[in-house]
């Protein structure tokens, strides 16, 4: 019997597929299973029903962390898209020294979130950072204490996050703008349509798939926004800037509370699945349009 190229290809892929199914989906199932057990330091297989979920949902820290996922996520994605788009349009206007600006705005993305967080933490620390410096210049009443206020500290995360990621959005959207056919612009000019209306009604809808790509990339940053939080606020003051990823890591690895952490991880997974299904819908809408 002759072996077809397709059969060979399938055969070669078997290890990869097995690895993905067992290593990835297997781990997910295992985590979901653990969330129904009272596991502490090591996994146990005793059934505990929804106990861990009940405890989780009544934990104030989880409520704060879960809410922050949406507060931080919404603001971060919104501002990143807005800032990135404006920067891309500015570049598209043909400013002088374009590549210099491009490098400057893209540079932060080369830094890890840990470095970003640390840098902003030092800048924003009222006792030793910017506030102290400006006061030492003689402006005694200058106040910049975002980091020490439980209500406002979440915005420091947004600021640092946008500073970090807006450049990425800029580059992706700028590439999109560059690929827009010059004929379309010419047609617009012939019809006498103002530039801003061209952007809003013609060019941007054409960029829709790229916006969705940015959305997905930024969305993943939000879900795994562990390192930024750890480096910048540590979840504080109090636990006002906690996020689900940090809650989960703390409970798995520091508190030896495997059951509770698994329940939290499962809820986070559910949330992500729902959100990404929504993004999928958006993408399809874009394609249909």
């Amino acid at each position: 019997m002759a072996i077809t190229p397709q059969a060979t290809a399938r055969f070669v892929l078997v290890p990869t597929i097995l690895l993905t199914v067992v290593g990835y989906y297997g781990s997910i199932l295992w985590t979901i299973g653990l969330s129904f057990t009272p596991s502490r330091i090591l996994p146990v297989s005793r059934w505990a029903g929804l106990d861990m979920y009940e405890r989780l949902l009544s934990t104030e820290r989880w409520q704060v962390a879960y809410t922050n996922l949406f507060v931080f996520g919404g603001l971060y994605i919104g501002f990143c898209l807005a800032a990135g788009l404006l920067l891309a349009i500015a570049l598209d206007q043909g400013v002088k020294g374009r590549s210099v600006y491009q490098t400057i705005f893209l540079y932060p993305i080369a830094l890890s979130f840990i470095v970003t967080g640390l840098a902003w933490r030092w800048l924003l620390n009222p006792t030793t950072g910017l506030q102290d410096y400006v006061r030492s210049l003689g402006f005694e009443s200058f106040s910049l204490d975002l980091l020490s206020s439980p209500e406002r500290a979440i915005f420091t995360l947004v600021i640092a996050g946008v500073w970090h990621s807006a450049g990425l959005v800029m580059v992706i959207l700028f590439a999109g703008l560059q690929s827009v056919d010059q004929e379309i612009w010419r047609a617009g000019r012939v019809d006498g349509i103002p530039r801003h209306r061209m952007y809003r009604h013609v060019v941007l809808p054409m960029l829709w798939p790229m916006v969705v790509t940015c959305l997905v990339l930024l969305g993943m940053n939000v879900v795994r926004s562990y390192d930024l939080v750890v480096a910048l606020t540590g979840g504080g003051p109090g636990f006002s800037t906690d996020v689900p990823a940090k809650f989960i890591v703390d409970h798995y690895f520091e508190r030896q509370s495997v059951g509770l952490a698994s329940a939290a991880a499962t809820l986070l997974l559910l949330t992500v699945v729902v959100l990404f299904a929504l993004v999928g819908l958006l993408r399809r809408r874009g394609e249909a349009a």
Binding site: I41, R121, P126, G236, P237, R255, S257, L260
Partner: protein, 412 residues
């Protein structure tokens, strides 16, 4: 060609067999998982390694790149794979009891008692890793003091007040410090740092008996006593006295405020002493150390958990002998900035601050780190409670104390 290949295969088979058979002639070895990698720490563990080699056992160290979390992951996977390592570096405490109860660790008591190695180790350091029926699951190597008060001598001189010896005294002196433009107390608001501050205050408030009643015996009368409310009241006053920049500040950034004389004092463990010296500050003229209130030292016990290998192992035995060798302990502690777990080990060469602790320990004025008596889960919940209390002034000391009691009493 054929023959050559045959010979190669033969050698490979011989090699495979050789590794499969127990190495009878080779020296015994012990595999040790630890993460003592910074300058002083790695010099310290080297003393243990040298002693192990002196006893005739090969020292094999497994050092994960990502510290404690990585070590625990490595340990868990080795246990899961049926190939336990010889020892795991750990803070001695409830984790050892948990793992011991699951049959993963070796009861080390018969061996160390037979060799007379633990006679001078303070009882609490053994109790925190023992079952009530006596099984001992971890070997204490050194003590890290938790409740030190590191103060800036120039700061207190500028304010014209004496460095305090208790919390009442400190609160009385705080306005003078503030008037002199000095931050009375430098705090880094991270869970573990607030925890050290809180249990230092708590222990100063209710002493050794209260400590044991609360953390060890989980006595409801103690958990609901006024001393707990008072400790939160003091903590609330401190949260007002601390500077704005305390949120998520690392302990060494916080310490530099003391080193620069911008802050009066910081409550932090013994490791801060080495850091102050490393910052180029001189003990006695720039900074001093004292107990953070009360008369009892709270010490974290550093040591090793000893897995059950399922068979006799001279390598593992030699390792335990090295850990509890008085001279090795002293050498380790000098480099690590800790104090030996054996109170009969020489204290020559220890720093002035360490000597104060060693003296107290020899007099029986020592207590374990409360975290060693709590599950990781409960310790974490207390961290959350403290973080929230510290940042949110609308939480009253009474309600914080009630939540605190709740966590302690529900821990198992």
């Amino acid at each position: 060609m054929q023959q050559k290949n045959g010979a190669r295969v033969g050698r490979a088979i011989a090699l495979a067999c050789g590794t499969a058979l127990p190495a009878v002639t080779a020296a015994e070895e012990v595999e040790v998982i630890h993460w003592l990698v910074t300058g002083g720490e790695s010099a310290a563990i080297q003393h243990v390694a040298d002693k192990v080699e002196d006893l005739g056992t090969t020292w094999v160290e497994l050092v994960p790149p990502d510290g404690g979390a990585g070590a625990r992951a490595l340990f868990t996977s080795r246990i899961g794979g049926g190939d336990p390592p010889g020892a795991l570096f750990a803070s001695v405490g409830k984790e050892a009891i948990d793992l011991g109860e699951q049959g993963i660790l070796r009861d080390i008591r018969p061996f160390v008692e037979a060799e007379g190695l633990i006679d001078s180790v303070p009882a609490f350091a053994l109790e925190i890793a023992s079952l009530e029926s006596g099984e001992l699951y971890a070997v204490p190597l050194a003590f890290e003091t938790q409740n030190f008060m590191w103060y800036s001598i120039p700061a207190f001189e500028a304010a014209g007040v004496e460095p305090p010896t208790g919390w009442g005294e400190f609160l009385a002196a705080a306005p003078a410090l503030q008037e002199a433009g000095i931050i009375p107390i430098a705090v880094g608001a991270q869970p573990w740092q607030l925890n050290i501050l809180h249990f230092s205050i708590l222990t100063a408030e209710f002493g050794q008996d209260g400590f044991n009643a609360l953390y060890r015996d989980q006595d409801p009368a103690m958990a609901e006593s006024d001393a707990i409310v008072e400790s939160f009241r003091i903590l609330r006053e401190l949260s007002v006295l601390a500077d704005q920049g305390n949120s998520n500040r690392s302990w060494n950034d916080t310490l530099s405020l003391v080193a620069e004389g911008r802050a009066g004092l910081q409550v932090m463990g013994s490791w801060a002493g080495g850091e102050l010296a490393a910052m180029g500050e001189t003990y006695g003229t720039d900074w001093g150390c004292a107990m953070a209130g009360g008369d009892t030292w709270i010490v974290g016990t550093t040591g090793f958990m000893i897995p059950d290998l399922g068979q006799e192992s001279t390598g593992q035995d030699d390792f335990v002998r090295a850990l509890l060798d008085p001279a090795t302990q002293t050498a380790f502690s000098i480099d690590k900035g800790s104090i030996p777990s054996r109170t009969d080990a020489s204290t020559e060469g220890l720093s002035e601050c360490s000597l104060k602790v060693a003296e107290g320990m020899a007099e029986g004025r020592g207590l374990p780190n409360p975290n060693a008596l709590l599950s990781g889960d409960a310790a974490g919940q207390i961290g959350d409670l403290l973080m929230n209390f510290w940042a949110d002034t609308s939480v009253t000391p009474e309600s914080a104390a009630a939540q605190f009691a709740d966590i302690i009493l529900n821990d198992f």
